[in-house]
Structures are given as C-alpha cells and as structure tokens.
C-alpha cells in the first residue's frame, strides 16, 4: 500500500506527500493515487522529502503517473534524500521535472 496524503498549499497547488519508500512493493499504486488528485495543466507538487529510497519500479511509476514529458515539465518534485537526488540526476529526470531541495 502506498503511504501518501494530499493537501492544498494555499496558493492553489496540490501537494501529494509520499512517505518512507517507493519500490516494487507499493509503486504500482502511485499512478492511480496521483490520477485521483491531479489534473494536467494545474499546479502539482510531488513531495518526496520523506522518501528515503526509490528503486527502478518506483522511478518508472513516477514517470507513468504523468505520462508525457510536457506534463512532467510542469510538475515540481521535492527531494531530500541523497539516494533519490542521485537517481533523478543520473537518469536525467532532474532535467525534466522541476526539482526542489528540502
């Protein structure tokens, strides 16, 4: 089960906060969880600051959640973990999503 909660940040941005980890165990639930709260063209932040580990299934699930590179360019991803930051860097996803540090 994916551990997440969704809130509005007061400026109209939907913020989905994930916890713990994103791996094969729970990653398949991410696209459906995001689809429930995300409308393309609206401000959306995926907050991964509490996520300490993402594996290949988790990374694939993030990309599948937004489907299209153009949509991804409008998404902000917050990262705190070095492992997650490195993963986004070596896969060049930090050049597609807008990345914010913690």
């Amino acid at each position: 089960m994916i551990d997440y909660r969704v809130r509005e940040d007061g400026s109209g941005t939907t913020v989905a906060v994930l916890n713990d980890y994103l791996t094969q165990e729970n990653a398949n639930g991410l696209p459906a969880a995001i689809a429930e709260h995300f409308t393309p063209g609206t401000a959306f932040t995926l907050d991964l600051t509490a996520v300490t580990f993402i594996d290949s299934s988790g990374l694939g699930a993030i990309v599948r959640s937004f489907k299209d590179k153009l949509i991804m360019e409008g998404i902000t991803i917050r990262i705190a973990s070095k492992q997650v930051e490195r993963l986004f860097h070596i896969t060049k996803l930090d050049q597609i999503f807008r990345i914010e540090g913690a």
Binding site: Q24, D55, S56, S57, L59, G60, V63, R64, K69, R86, H89, I90, T91, K92, D94, Q95
Partner: protein, 391 residues
C-alpha cells in the same frame, strides 16, 4: 432448533465437531452428551481430567467442555496442559464452574475460552457451543489460507531459484577478444533483479560491452533480462550491418524504440561501451547509471559520469556518447546500480583480478567478495561487476 445458527458463514453447511466432555458427575455428563449429540456433534464423554487429556491426544478434538473439579486432573490444570501443547488446530475450551463467576479470572487465565456455571442450562450450553464453533471455523479458514500462502511462497521461491540457474547459465563469466579479456561477476538479489552483462563481437576487432539492469524484480524481470540478452546480440549485428561505423547513440535509439511502450513498465538502466582496440579508444554511453571507472596500469582511477535517460522510459532517448582513449593495461570496471564501488574497492580490483585469474573456473573469489558485501542474506538488488582488461 438444534444446530441452527451455528456460525457457519454464508449458509455453508455446519461442520460436526468432535467435543470431549469431562465431568465426574455422571448425571451432568449425560446431560452434556445429550445436548452435544442433539446439535449434531460427536461427543466423547469421560469422567476425569486424565482421561480427557488422553482423548485429546488420541485424535483431533475441536472442543473441550470440562468441569473444574474432577479427580486426578482438575479442569483448570487440564486446560493449562492442553494450552501448553498447542496442536495444529485450535481447541476451544469451555469450563464448567460450580461457583457463580467468582473464579472467572482463574478460568480465563488458565486458557479457557468460555465458562458456564452450574446448574447447566441446555440453551446456555448450546449458545456457547455455537460461539465456539464460529471461532473454530474461523481458525480453520485462517489456517487453510496460511497453508495456501506457504505453498505459493514455496512455489515462487522454487521458480526464482530455477530462473536464477537459467540466468547464471546464460550469462558469460569470462570472454576474450582481440584486445580485451572480460570477467563478469553476478550476485543475484533475493527476488532476481534482471542484471545482464556481456561482450558482443562487432567488426574490425571492435566489440560492444554492456552491463544492464532491467527495471523491476522477480520472474518478470528475469524473463525480460533473458529475452533482452538474446535480442541484444541479434540487434547489435543487425545494426552493424546497416551502420558499419556502429555509433552508440544511433544503436541506443533503436533499442529505445524497441522497448518503449512495450508493456508500459519495462525500461533498462545501464552502461554501453564500444571497445575499439585498433584505435585504443572506447565509446561510452550511460543510460541512467553512473557506475563506470577506468583503472590505469599505475592504479589511477577515473570515474565516467554522464547522465542519460534510461532506455525505454521515454519515446525519445536523446542519447549521447563520450570517446575516451586508453593505455594498455587499463581496466574498465562497470558495476550495476546496486553496487557502489568505494575507492578502496577500486584500488583493490587489480589484485582481485590476479587472484581470480589464478583460480581457473572454480568458485569466483570476486563474487564471494560481492556476496560478503551484502551480508548474510541475499542483497536487495542484483550486484554485478564486469571487469575488462584492455590490451
């Protein structure tokens, strides 16, 4: 109304229970027997605690209804004894107390599930038997599901072990070409993670080396890795036939097209290197990985790191490559994402290779080192390390 509403779910037929009845008062014992038999269950009447214990040990008994005060073994001691000898199924226990709830705590602490006070009223006893039957049947369902899960897990583990064997037989351990010797090492994760690595001959002594990790884990990743291993050999030669200069960006774009959108899940992270011994030159492309080092003959280490999209993650790869010249004796060290090579490990690699080469085809000392890094259990991700000694 006997047997009605006995707790069997969804209208399923009630199951006849085997119930040991223990009481030294033969009149009460007869009453218990009549009630139990009337509900469609099988009573085993006994007149003391020791006989009850023997009956419980002799066959599978579902329920024990016992008086507290009996010769040889009291109801409370009997209850404690059967709880200490927990069997394969749950024994629901009802104690009959002569007192009015004064010793309830002692009864429950002894392991009794329920109690009834004398005089025994048949309707009250029937209600307790029905309540017990609900718990017994629930326990049976849980145990049946647990057995199925255990069997399924055993099957999955067996399938993973077979998949690991197949993958191990498929992956090369040592390869030699015109200008290189390659040593591949692989320590699979608990669930297999789809690492593959090999060198494929191209034209004019050139060769294509790759070390790849298919996304995901388990049988799916292992099967896809096996398929990819064969596809790569064929695709590399097809691409070479059409593009004799064999430049990596073009080849990787064809792979990307092949894999993207295949099932919506699969992508590959990994390292590709074209080795050109005639020019002493490498062409390097990294697709979502940064684990490539060159170790010079004097032990100097150079890391190569160029971010790149994993193959198949997007419709277009936008691939690039880097050309690097090398001196004879250089070691190309490429690990999978699950294995971070520390400076100490990189410095030790030339010595590791010497040890491995003197060990012929026995147990691989480098794999033993990698396995030791993971600790006593299999690693969470495949650990693979390819070492290519360039002439």
């Amino acid at each position: 109304m006997e047997g009605e509403g006995n707790g069997a779910p969804n209208g399923a037929p009630p199951t006849a229970l085997t119930i040991v009845l223990a009481d030294d008062d033969r009149a009460i014992l007869k009453l218990l027997e009549v009630v139990v038999r009337g509900m469609g269950h099988r009573p085993i009447p006994v007149t003391d605690g020791a006989a009850a214990l023997r009956a419980i040990e002799a066959e599978r008994v579902d329920m024990l209804i016992s008086d507290i005060e009996m010769p040889h073994l009291s109801g409370i001691d009997l209850c404690r004894t059967v709880r200490d000898r927990a069997g394969e199924s749950y024994l629901f226990t009802v104690l009959i107390s002569a007192h009015d709830q004064r010793d309830v705590a002692a009864l429950l602490d002894a392991g009794a599930d329920d109690f009834i006070t004398k005089p025994v009223i048949p309707a009250h006893l029937q209600a307790r038997i029905r309540s017990g039957q609900r718990i017994i049947e629930s326990d049976r369902r849980v145990r049946a599901v647990n057995r199925q899960l255990s069997d399924t897990i055993a099957e999955i583990r067996s399938a993973l072990a077979h998949a690991e064997q197949i993958q191990r037989l498929m992956l090369p351990r040592r390869q030699e070409g015109a200008g290189f010797r390659a040593y591949h090492h692989w320590v699979p994760s608990q669930q297999l993670s789809g690492d593959i690595m090999a060198v494929v001959d191209l034209a004019d002594d050139a060769a294509l080396f790759y070390n790849l990790d298919v996304s995901g884990h388990g049988i799916r990743a292992a099967l896809q890795a096996t398929e990819l291993f064969h596809i790569l050999q064929a695709r590399a030669r097809e691409y070479l036939a059409r593009h004799p200069d064999f430049l990596l960006p073009g080849f990787l774009e064809t792979l990307n097209t092949l894999i993207h959108g295949r099932d919506g899940y699969t992508y590959i992270a990994g390292t590709f290197v074209v080795i050109r011994p005639r020019d002493r030159r490498l062409e390097i492309a990294q697709a979502g990985t940064d684990a490539l080092h060159l170790i010079g003959a004097r032990g100097d280490v150079t890391a190569h790191h160029r971010p790149g999209f994993p193959i198949g993650l997007f419709g277009s790869l936008d691939a690039g490559s880097t050309l690097v010249e090398y001196a004879p004796g250089t070691i190309l060290a490429v690990s999978s994402d699950g294995l971070a090579l520390s400076p100490d490990m990189l410095a030790a690699i030339p010595r590791w290779l010497e040890e491995a080469q003197s060990g012929d085809f026995g147990p691989d000392p480098i794999e033993a080192r990698l396995a030791a890094l993971a600790g006593p259990v299999a690693p969470a991700d495949d650990l693979s390390l390819s070492l290519i000694v360039l002439a």
